[in-house]
Symmetry: C2
Subunit: 143 residues, 2 copies
DNA sequence: CAGCATCCGTTATGATACTG
DNA sequence: CAGTATCATAACGGATGCTG
């Protein structure tokens, strides 16, 4: 739900029929109350998608992911992996070898989110020419 | 394409068959080269979706949007609208009345992006219980 | 009404060094 | 190997005041 409890505020519903959820006034983007917001935020984060996509081809170890994703720092890799783990999208398994190795893998939930994400990236692929042209036109006009 | 020109870098393709694009090493998230990244960034931005959804029910004026979206500042509303206009997702029409009124509306491109976005928000709706439970479990374990 | 300019605090991200 | 800790910086976002 894109909603926020905001006592005493008038609530007007927008496109509820189309979107399947109500869309009241107040700040509909308050995280912690709005899981849609959470998901959207994750998607927008710099490394989340790259990691999920990397894991789509099977479980990977920490350093393996770091090489696959490219120039991500250990700091951001750790942070993003933790978030994804907390959200239940990936699993983390420690093998007590020496030195230790840790394996990350998509959970069923993590696999399921890749479908709608693929829709979005597919749209981007299909329309990036339109977007590029629109930008050139726009930038040409303002100068 | 989630790619970056990174001269002299070895390029390994990941899941190209599944994702419809190559996914080389280097920093695949460099904006300006990667429209997918662009779109994803927009989606993750705080107000983009709320504005697009608001416009889904028909053209709106500036102050009308500000009321609908809730507590967005004029600054952010202007900024986000400009971006969307530049990307060709919305149109901006100025009516030279006094005082002036400006109407924003979805373009065909803007309408088309709402479909994949609806997929994603729908997924979030369907699975927000799973996510919430995963978080509780995770947070319970680390304390 | 519909902005734009400015200031300023918060958050996101990166670089680097250290550890079990 | 797989992190953690610390520091620095850049991008984001909000508040306010001004203007055609």
């Amino acid at each position: 739900m894109i909603t926020r409890e905001h006592e005493g505020n008038p609530v007007r519903s927008l496109s509820g029929a189309v979107w399947g959820f109500d869309f009241p006034e107040g700040a509909p983007t308050d995280p912690g109350v709005c899981p849609v917001r959470d998901v959207l935020d994750r998607v927008g984060q710099k490394w989340t998608l790259l990691i999920l996509i990397s894991l789509d081809s099977g479980p990977k170890r920490f350093s393996q992911l770091q090489r696959m994703v490219g120039d991500i720092s250990k700091r951001m890799l750790t942070q993003t992996l933790r978030q994804l783990e907390r959200d239940g999208l990936i699993s983390r398994t420690v093998y007590p070898t020496k030195p230790p190795s840790v394996e990350y893998a998509l959970t069923l939930l993590g696999e399921s989110v890749l479908a709608p994400i693929a829709q979005l990236t597919s749209w981007a692929e299909d329309h990036h020419d339109d977007i590029r042209q629109a930008r050139e036109k726009f930038d040409g006009l303002i100068e």
